[in-house]
Amino acid sequence: MTERDRIEQAAAHWVMRRSEPDWSASDDEALAAWLEESVAARAAFWRLSHGYSLIDRLSAVPGRPAAPSPRHRLRVLAGIVATACALAACAVLLLPLPQQPVATHYRTAIGKIDHVVLADGTVLDLDSDTRIRVLQDDSTRHLWLDRGRIFVAVAKDRARPFITHSGGADIVDIGTEFAVAREQAHVSVSVVEGKVRLSSALYAKSGSTIVAAGEVARTDGRTTTVEMGESKGIDDELAWRRGAVIFRDTRLIDAAAYLNRYNRDKLEIAGDIADLRIGGSFRLDNVAGFSRLLAKAYALEVRQGAGTIKISRQ
């Protein structure tokens, strides 16, 4: 490995790490010190971060055609090429930006539900423990749901599609109101009003799905399922906006995991009662009331510890 190679390798690491969410002020200082070391370091770092930022253009894709163009030879990659064709149409608008615009970050703490109005008039509800990024310019509106759950009432703007990215899913708004929740590898989309188009960012070949009002779609990026016309399902999905949750025949372990998103005292459920089914409507912040109910109605033992509430059989 030549000296140049070594420097480039190190510079690439810095460029990569700088875009990580846990990048801190002390990392910033360390990077500045490294850049100070030599002109060669600066040349390599600037060159790679410039090159890496050129690829960002790919992320501004306003939806992609369901079928890849048959003219392209690279079969495996056809989806991406098709994306490029779609992009070419708006490339002139998107590309000449002299600098990459910076996304605005929003986050909520555990137990907090926030209400945000974006520059374009779109209204968001951010659930507890949620992280999003928003990027809007003259031609596009993007929102990344990195963690948690949001409800979106999109302000109408035909010229600028509103695209929500989460996990491997892209949700292009065609109508007005929907909610997106992200749980590990799964993303679920509940449409309240209008329609959205749901497509996979990674598996372009899997095409896109239109999700209409009253439907709840779940996707892991590869496969998408849509539950039809259950307005009760949507109400349940959106109960968090009122600070409530509705459980219907829900496993106790899942209900506990749900409530744990909102409370610092975490419920711990003993293994032998994990599959117990429960139902009812609960306040999200009232974990004490929830555990009292378990004690009363199910005759379970509740032990309050430091930061935990242990539930087991008596």
């Binding site: 490995m1 190679d5 990569m16 040349a43 090159g51 890496y52 050129l54 991406i80 002139v92 996990g167």
Partner: protein
């Protein structure tokens, strides 16, 4: 610090767009393709030192003047020197038309180049880059998503970033690996090293 920011801006907007022409110049006068990237780095280093003292009026001619000096130095230091080569290099007139065509690559072409570059990457590397760039996922999230370790994601990101930068700025965009298996390719004139 302000100086460095403006120097970076000048470097990215004035010098890096000329990389394809620079690489052509280097490979034309230097027979060892494996060393082209080293020479490029050398040129950039000198260009930055020079521009740090004061920006040249015309970036293009300045870049190529520096490149010519770097090449001449290397040729003079080489054991076997072709006299023709030096004579030819001394005459390198940086004609205006070297500079114009690449300066303003139109948006559509540049986008096609991004896609082409991504498509040239090995499958796993491509997936990592797509998840990062299209989804904005972090290393940890990409790792969880693909079911691999964060080390592997970091390694693929670094490989992909370097290959794509080379490609986007006009190079080959090949993956550099340091495994001995690739030696042969390098000996045959590949750009890996």
């Amino acid at each position: 610090m302000q100086d460095q920011t403006s120097l970076e801006h000048w470097f990215c907007s004035e010098v890096l767009p000329l990389e394809p022409v620079l690489m052509r110049l280097i490979t034309r006068y230097w027979r060892e393709p494996g060393e082209a990237a080293d020479i490029r780095q050398d040129v950039y280093e000198r260009v930055l030192i020079g521009a740090g003292r004061g920006r040249p009026h015309q970036s293009g001619p300045y870049l190529f003047a520096v490149a010519r000096n770097v090449l001449l130095n290397r040729i003079r230091r080489a054991k076997i020197v072709s006299i023709d080569l030096i004579a030819e290099l001394d005459d390198v007139a940086i004609e205006a038309d070297w500079l114009t065509p690449e300066r303003h690559v139109d948006a559509r072409r540049q986008l096609r180049r991004v896609v082409e570059g991504i498509n040239r990457l090995p499958e796993r590397c491509r997936q990592v880059m797509m998840l990062r760039k299209m989804e904005g996922l972090s290393t940890r999230e990409v790792a969880a998503r693909m079911g691999v370790g964060t080390d592997a994601v970091e390694q693929q990101t670094v490989l992909g970033m370097r290959a794509l930068t080379d490609f986007m700025l006009g190079g080959e965009g090949r993956i550099r690996r340091r495994t001995p298996i690739r030696r042969q390719a390098a000996d045959r004139g590949g750009r890996d090293d």
